[in-house]
Symmetry: C2
């Protein structure tokens, strides 16, 4: 059977059924694969194409494909589509190509992959593509002084010996006391050290998710979360993000329809939009989560980098119900190359996360934990944070000014009050992904919307990560993006002669 | 239905069927749960009890229970058994207790856990329980000098900035060049930095395993591997370890019967037995793996700690077929508190591992990577390894002497040529687990066989981790274990009067 022939044999979907459409689609594909109607190596129709033919949302088709993939029936290859990998023998899955040759890694590895970042990124003079702090701001002397203090300590050998999965105890105690003072941890809570927020997300997923589970996530969202969750076989249930962060009425609908097992949200300075969830929305989110019985993962890598406006209470502070787990990190406010973050949450969950942490990598690196504790306790972290807030505030202001000055009329952008990222929406018919190679030729990089998209496509969208750039670089970079966008707009909308009629 | 009533309604198993017994068992339980015959909260019979009633190996029952657990139908509670968690509604799983209260973490967390180590361990004067190097041997001045060199470098800011998922490039290059010189890496191989061997195992599992897959492992085996794999929903297919390591004829049978997706093996100084796989067995293992098309994970944390005898080629060196992936680490030969290890293997697999690494925690800590590179390149690592080899060799000799001198007649033990562990088999009817609390009261700890057992129970077995102890502590500790064992033997086998007949 050739795949374009599929169009003549579209799956029959029952929109009135209680069985969700993605599952109906999954079952019909699975049946055709099992029966051999679809043979090994055959390509499935592109999700976009099939969604169009069936009048479905593309996410619905993707969810069905992800289930097939999670069961090893199909495999996606980047840029090439999805292929049938396996034949079912006696109800057991026989991996395609599974033969006597173990060097046939291809067959063993045919699971889907998130699209990697463009290979050329990173060599530009002015890169808005990476959401990290400026290396020029690293307080190297203070870092050296913190290391020297640790190296001079009598318990240095303990730091170098195998440690506890919960973390280096002096750092753990410091952080939990701080969390208690800030109302982020109560008597029922515990704290676990992780390798940054990313590992916090990973451990929570390992403990709470199984393949096929849905997770409510912001759309657009940080690509590292997308690839982590899809790698676990989870389905992404997209909740749109507006100027005020995750849209709560949409979350409520997603909770009803997709029954996610988890909500992952970044209430402060969300990546990629920079949006912050207002107080009422925080309460609404917690209430919706409570009503649905779904835990909330508050991913908060940027919360301590507020440049203006009033700080808002964290979900973890507001949640009297014990359904929230908070992820934080030293990375953004100190040194991202040291991988130290932490999780604060209810003890029963933290017990399980600690076991998962031990299974994952025994414990986090203790040298960095000890150095960061010294950096914090000596007051150097707070002094550095003040400098970061000043520098970040200036860069944010310069970015917003440069957006106004250089981007063509019709362009929209968010107005973050902190963090490292801002979202730009170029006017139609501009495509930020198509502009990127031209910007790169001129030495400027950014990430277009597709890296962050869950189900909402926004061709004109792009993320500007401003925190790692000097103010002059920000202006120069936005001037180039603005020129390219204006030129493209002019050629796309010739204002002079009317187009010749083709018919 | 009450569970002891089950004995009247035993599952009917067809031993002649091509459907494996564990799967028949799984299907019959699943059916009873689906039909409601087994309701939420009901306890399943203990695996040992059911295995006895059905005349099955306990592993078979465990495998069926693990499949039920992986599907969320039952949940294990440590020491309490397995319970039905869920009712199936319209083909979808409804989590037990899934209600409006998210603080109901218990219901969300009801998955099985590996038994934690005894809580009291670690406070004893003489602990044979931990397989780590002696902190007294840490070369602190050399460590400080390595740190100082890194802190003085012009590229310090790069080390502190976010890095690459593949690892700190200068270290990665150093390791891959070394691996090439040693014949451990060929042109088709790549290298990835991990947080020690444990994360190497985790990443390989994430990429190659799905819930329900079997993995061939040594029995007894390192508990961290057991909990990692069962946490992933994998089934452990036990291959007995003898004095010469994994028994290859048994591996061949396991490959045929259990069709594992992976073989994990420690050819040098296996944990817990200290056994080393001879050359012929290495070739036999690779041939069996090649014939079955199953990749081999060579977990090698101890290989560089050989105190006597000739080094043997690694599986990775012997495998011309590209089916082996090698895991190594700095932990055992330098500082376990710094979490830096690496994986060497075929590029297509390494590409996937790098993606999994990025999803798991972005990258390993760069400060420790830079310090360990300096430690290695300056020659300090090699100098330290020489001291470790001398000290380890002495401790091994003292341990073997003390075993001969203090352990009662009938006791067996392995004779490792390196590493950190040795296996003792106390004579019947001694139970090393029952002796432990008495040893702890006298200030001595070790881990009894049950922490390492996969399916083979050996009540008299225990692991002696000797590398972290002073020679005098080793002698004192073994004297105490020997006295306790001898006293227990004497009371269990009264050589004087015959026991009074009870009937």
């Amino acid at each position: 059977m050739v795949w374009y022939g599929w169009m003549d044999a579209l799956p029959h979907l029952d929109h009135g059924s209680e069985v969700p459409l993605y599952r109906q689609l999954y079952e019909q594909f699975a049946e055709r694969i099992r029966s051999g109607e679809l043979g090994q190596g055959e390509r499935l129709p592109a999700t976009r194409e099939l969604a169009g033919s069936l009048g479905l949302n593309r996410t619905t088709v993707s969810a069905a494909y992800e289930m097939l993939e999670a069961e090893g029936m199909i495999a996606g290859r980047v840029g090439k589509g999805s292929f049938v990998t396996a034949a079912l023998v006696r109800g057991e899955l026989a991996l395609a190509g599974r033969g006597p040759a173990p060097h046939g890694w291809g067959a063993l590895l045919e699971r889907g992959e998130a699209a990697p970042l463009p290979a050329a990124l990173g060599r530009e003079t002015i890169s808005f593509a990476t959401s990290w702090p400026s290396r020029e701001l690293f307080p190297l002397d203070e870092f050296r002084a913190s290391c020297a203090a640790v190296l001079g300590r009598a318990d240095l050998a303990d730091i170098l010996q195998l440690g506890s999965p919960a973390g280096y105890e002096p750092l753990r105690r410091h952080l939990i006391e701080e969390a208690r003072r800030q109302g982020l941890a109560g008597a029922a809570d515990d704290l676990l050290i992780t390798n940054g927020c990313q590992q916090g997300l990973d451990l929570v997923g390992r403990v709470l998710l199984r393949p096929g589970d849905a997770v409510a996530v912001e759309d657009p969202v940080y690509p590292g979360l997308k690839s982590l969750l899809t790698g676990m076989g989870a389905r992404l249930a997209a909740v749109p993000v507006g100027a005020d962060g995750m849209e709560i009425p949409r979350l409520v609908r997603v909770l009803e329809r997709e029954r996610p097992k988890l909500i992952v949200v970044t209430p402060d300075f969300q990546n990629p939009t920079g949006a912050t969830l207002p107080m009422a929305a925080r309460r609404g989110l917690l209430e919706a989560a409570r009503a649905a019985g779904v835990p909330v993962v508050e991913n908060d890598p940027y919360g301590e980098l507020r440049y203006e406006g009033q700080p808002l209470a964290a979900l973890k502070q507001l949640d009297a119900n014990g359904g929230t787990v908070l992820l934080r990190s030293f990375s953004k406010a100190s040194f991202p190359g040291l991988r130290v973050g932490w999780v604060v949450g209810p003890k029963p969950l933290l017990d399980r996360l600690r076991h998962a942490k031990e299974a994952a990598d025994l414990h986090s690196d203790q040298l960095s934990q000890a150095v960061l504790l010294e950096f914090a306790e000596s007051g150097r972290l707070e002094a550095h944070r003040k400098r970061l807030l000043e520098a970040g505030g200036e860069r944010l202001r310069v970015t917003l000014e440069a957006c106004r000055e250089f981007l063509p009329a019709g362009t929209g952008w968010t107005r973050p009050e902190g963090g490292m990222n801002l979202w730009v929406s170029l006017p139609e018919p501009l495509d930020a992904g198509e502009l990127l190679p031209r910007a790169q030729k001129l030495g400027v990089a950014y990430l277009p919307a597709r890296y962050f998209a869950v189900s909402r496509q926004e061709p004109g969208g792009l993320r500007l990560s401003f925190a790692g750039l000097e103010p002059q670089q920000i202006r120069d970079g936005l001037a180039i993006i603005g020129q390219l966008a204006a030129a493209e707009l002019a050629s796309a909308r010739p204002s002079g002669e009317p187009a010749t009629a083709m018919v």
